[in-house]
């Protein structure tokens, strides 16, 4: 494009960016950049940027789809792709201009810092990621090559596992109780009541200690792996692989808004401090604004994230009169951190849901014209706007769809329902109904893995319903 560049240029600008990264106190993994062309980028997108990944037809489908969209000019390619690993690996498109490369590198350091410090990424074992994925790939390939298994059987299991992979625990900060602890909780009676004599005696239910699981279980794949009868070891291994990969990607889904906002905040800060030549700076401004512009009727995580980080900094550094008053009532009033200190703390301890809940203010929502939309026939109609009475409702709706919130919560309640090893699943209804066609087809996958009848309880039109599938007949009760 405008200025031809060489690898030397990138190294020069990288060194400049790294000075700033250190100066601002970002705490990054070592960084690696790899240059690639557009076909490689399309491939990387299909495999989530992993240098090695197990094969499955859905990645071929994803590639073809991306390529079709790209070839027809419907969608462009990302400027970069960065994966959460130590060292942090990022890919740069060689066709991009120098300004775009500098912008991208600065952006990547923002992600890198976020991966390295946010609590949700603690368990992802960034230093082993590349090897883990390679190991998974080797295992899957070995099963495909095994004459007694073969690629068809492997893909059938993977199809089912992929369908259920999102049905897992959401917040890694909440520890899962082990079986013994679950038992203790179940056996413990209600807390002793000092006013027992005056209170009505509570009806106590004897806990069914033989029920498996004792507490409703959200990790569907893992539960099926551990409790399905007659499941061959290789199938269990495939379920483990799919589950582990989802555990790796989960933090990225859970922190999309924070993460993108954080990277945009820092690429802007770094770029503004670099004293760029004016033509590069101009191009940077254009690109930056393309990335962080709002998308009508939707949420652009880049835009929302950046807005919120900016707002947090402003509230700490230049609070308005109301905000000072408000803050003096809060427990943090004694030690008032600076804007920078505050955002570094938040980047460690929050995920999107808590980030929005804590820091998305009514003022900001009004400014961004946050709305709630409801379908009416084929049309989307604005049902609420962020005014005095409704902003909290709008915020609730927004949070409901944030991160893993857009996946319904399905829990395994009983693995021996009705005494015939029927698997009972319950959709935790929160006012949002399941898409029936998809639920029905996904239920078939559960049955395929479990091997016996499965029942799904959910709510449709405010009525409790249960769907059951035993491999031959679909029933609604």
């Amino acid at each position: 494009m405008a200025v031809p560049w060489t690898l030397r240029d990138l190294e020069y600008w990288d060194a400049r960016i790294r000075e700033k990264v250190a100066e601002f106190g970002l705490n990054c993994y070592p960084q690696e950049f790899e240059l690639c062309d557009h076909t490689q980028m399309l491939s990387l997108m299909a495999y989530s940027g992993m240098p090695s990944h197990y094969p499955h037809w859905s990645y071929g489908k994803s590639f073809e789809r991306q390529k079709t969209l790209y070839d027809h000019g419907v969608s462009g390619l990302p400027y970069e792709m960065v994966i959460n690993s130590n060292p942090c690996i990022a890919y740069l498109m060689r066709q991009n201009s120098l300004a775009l490369q500098i912008l991208t590198m600065a952006h990547v350091y923002g992600h890198n810092d976020f991966f390295a410090n946010n609590f949700t990424f603690n368990h992802t074992r960034a230093d082993l990621v590349v090897e883990t994925f390679k190991n998974h790939a080797n295992r899957v390939r070995a099963y495909s090559a095994d004459p007694s298994i073969g690629i068809d059987k492997v893909e059938t299991i993977l199809d089912a596992a992929h369908a259920l992979s999102m049905q897992c625990r959401r917040n890694p900060a909440i520890r899962k109780r082990n079986e013994a602890e679950q038992k203790q909780v179940a056996m413990a009676g209600p807390p002793s009541d000092p006013f027992q004599s005056v209170h009505k005696r509570p009806v106590t239910q004897t806990p069914d200690l033989n029920r498996v699981p004792l507490e409703p279980e959200e990790d569907v794949l893992i539960f099926i792996r551990d409790h399905a009868t007659n499941m061959p070891v290789w199938q269990k291994d495939l379920l483990t692989i799919v589950h582990e990969q989802m555990q790796y990607f989960l933090p990225q889904i859970e922190t999309k808004i924070m993460n993108e906002g954080w990277a945009c905040y820092w690429h802007r800060t770094i770029m503004n401090s670099l004293e760029l030549p004016s033509e590069i700076h101009m191009e940077f401004l254009v690109r930056h604004n393309q990335v962080v512009r709002p998308i009508p009727n939707d949420i652009n995580p880049y835009h929302l994230g950046l807005k919120m980080w900016d707002d947090i900094v402003r509230r700490h550094d230049e609070p308005s009169f109301d905000e000072i008053e408000e803050m003096q009532q809060s427990p943090q009033a004694i030690s008032r951190p600076s804007g920078r200190e505050a955002i570094f703390h938040i980047r460690d301890v929050d995920r999107d849901v808590s980030f929005l809940r804590r820091f998305l203010t009514r003022k900001l929502m009004h400014e961004m014209d946050m709305i709630e939309m409801e379908p009416e026939g084929d049309d989307l109609i604005v049902s609420r706007v962020s005014d005095e009475d409704n902003w909290q409702e709008v915020k609730r709706t927004l949070i409901a769809y944030t991160g893993m919130g857009s996946t319904p919560v399905i829990r395994i309640v009983d693995s021996d329902h009705g005494g015939n090893r029927t698997l009972l699943l319950r959709h935790e209804y929160d006012g949002r109904e399941l898409l029936l066609e998809y639920a029905e087809r996904t239920l078939r996958y559960v049955q395929q893995l479990w091997g016996r009848r499965v029942v799904l309880q959910t709510v449709l039109d405010d009525k409790e319903v249960a769907f059951s599938w035993d491999g031959a007949d679909f029933e609604q009760a």
Binding site: L10, P30, E32, L35, D37, T39, Q40, L42, A46, S48, G49, P55, H56, W57, Y59, G60, K61, F63, P78, M81, A163, L164, S165, M166, Q245, M246, I253, K256, P294, I295, P296, N297, I299, N300, M368, D369, M370, E372, M373, P375, G377, D379, L380, I381, V382, R384, V385, K395, T397, L398, Y401, M404, P408, R432, L435, L436, E437, Y438, A439, T442
Partner: protein, 419 residues
């Protein structure tokens, strides 16, 4: 620690088509999905008489990636364009699967193909697979050997190797030798002699040609090639007349069977004749000449008069395809519900058709589940005695191939063998 940069290497890029295996698997899935719906697709698509490279759009079901997802009837939050008011209409409800997937494992069902492009060639292969055609016979149908007739037209000294006439070439050499051996007159042909000498002189001496004593090699000038020229063969014109009952009772499944039969016939005729034309005659109570598209898509209603189609076919043959210049192949598909009063006239006209056609056939399409005794027209056509007529019954797709073979054995022009 400093940042590591890995430069782009074009050789890596060439080798890095890592998704090829998965793309192949995906394509296989697509193919399977198409094959599962082949009857619907063939009944829907215009395939007869189109180029093999034509790309057809095929609707697909069955390669969605299902998950538990929320329906569309729930409220969602988004950003307005500023100053949004409750009750304002802001857009359309997205369909399931419309969500753009992001780089990571998306939390929404990915976009699914609702249609895909395949070439007609692929579609035909799938149809052959579905009809369970034997491989050998499939090949015979697929290779369109157009019958290009040529005629001998003398000899010449240049040409391609396969046209070399060895006998005449050898003779030319002998002539040259004789001429050289008798340099002076003796009744010899001076013209031949002069030519022989000229030929030797014309041969480049320095160009590697070393005369070996005692041998008399061929020279370029001795070569004689057969000369061929294209001959217009008036016998190579054929027309396929497809007639079909389009009354309401012909459903998709029946049309699929009819279409595959017409298709086989067309392909087969095409392998034997250079120039093949197609005529589609749709009929209910009256007959019309239509395009292929209309032929399979226009659902008509009302009674059925088979004779009208035959009358129309005779008219078309009379006007455009005189049997002296054209080989006429006619086939009629129906489900056999003719008005009883029309039967005698139908048989009479069918007889006339037999006289002008190489081959005329009637196929009664009765998918299983129909009563056998309703083979009304099959019974009626028993009255028609002609060597090149055949009435057949097609019950389901496995019958198509066998009835097609049967039908061909009646051909006047002796085209009975396929392989």
């Amino acid at each position: 620690m400093s940042t590591i940069f890995r430069d782009y290497s074009s050789s890596d890029a060439l080798q890095s088509d890592r998704s090829s295996g998965d793309r192949l698997r995906h394509r296989q899935k697509v193919r399977d999905a198409i094959r599962d719906n082949i009857a619907d697709i063939v009944a829907e698509q215009a395939i007869i008489g189109r180029s093999r490279d034509t790309i057809v759009k095929v609707p697909l079901r069955g390669i969605k990636e299902y998950r538990f997802v929320f329906g569309n009837n729930n409220a969602k939050a988004g950003q307005g364009k500023g100053d949004s008011q409750p009750g304002q209409r802001v857009g359309k409800v997205p369909q399931p699967g419309d969500e753009p997937g992001d780089g990571e494992a998306g939390d929404q069902p990915g976009v699914d193909y609702y249609e895909t492009d395949i070439t007609l060639e692929e579609l035909i292969d799938l149809m052959f697979e579905d009809l369970e055609l034997p491989d050998l016979e499939r090949k015979a149908l697929r290779e369109t050997i157009s019958h290009a007739a040529t005629k001998r037209k003398g000899y010449r000294k240049v040409g391609i190797r396969v046209q070399l006439d060895k006998r005449r070439t050898a003779l030319a050499r002998v002539k040259r030798k004789v001429a050289l051996d008798h340099p002076e007159g003796e009744g010899g042909d001076t013209a031949v002699e002069a030519e022989a000498i000229a030929a030797v002189q014309a041969e480049p001496v320095g160009g590697g040609f070393v005369p070996i004593p005692g041998r008399f090699p061929f020279l370029k000038n001795d070569m004689r090639f057969r000369r061929r020229s294209e001959a217009t063969d008036y016998d190579s014109n054929a027309v396929v007349i497809c007639m079909m009952d389009t009354s309401g009772s012909m459903d998709q499944q029946k049309k699929y069977l009819a279409r595959s039969f017409f298709f086989l016939l067309y392909q087969f005729v095409r392998t034997r004749y250079e120039h093949v034309e197609l005529v589609f005659i749709a009929h209910d109570a009256e007959a019309h000449e239509v395009s292929e598209d209309d032929f399979f898509h226009k659902g008509e209603s009302g009674g059925t008069l088979i004779s009208t189609a035959y009358a129309r076919a005779l008219e078309v043959i009379d006007q455009r395809y005189h049997p002296a210049l054209w080989n006429v192949y006619a086939f009629h598909c129906s489900d056999g519900d003719n008005m009883p009063g029309d039967n005698p006239r139908a048989v009479k006209l069918a007889g006339q058709l037999c006289e002008v056609c190489n081959l005329f056939g009637y196929g009664e399409i009765k998918p299983s589940g129909y009563f056998r005794d309703q083979d009304a027209m099959l019974g009626v056509f028993k009255a028609l005695k002609a060597d090149n007529f055949q009435a057949i019954r097609i019950g389901d797709k496995s019958d198509v191939w066998s009835s097609f073979r049967n039908f061909l054995t009646r051909d006047k022009a002796g085209l009975s063998t396929i392989t």
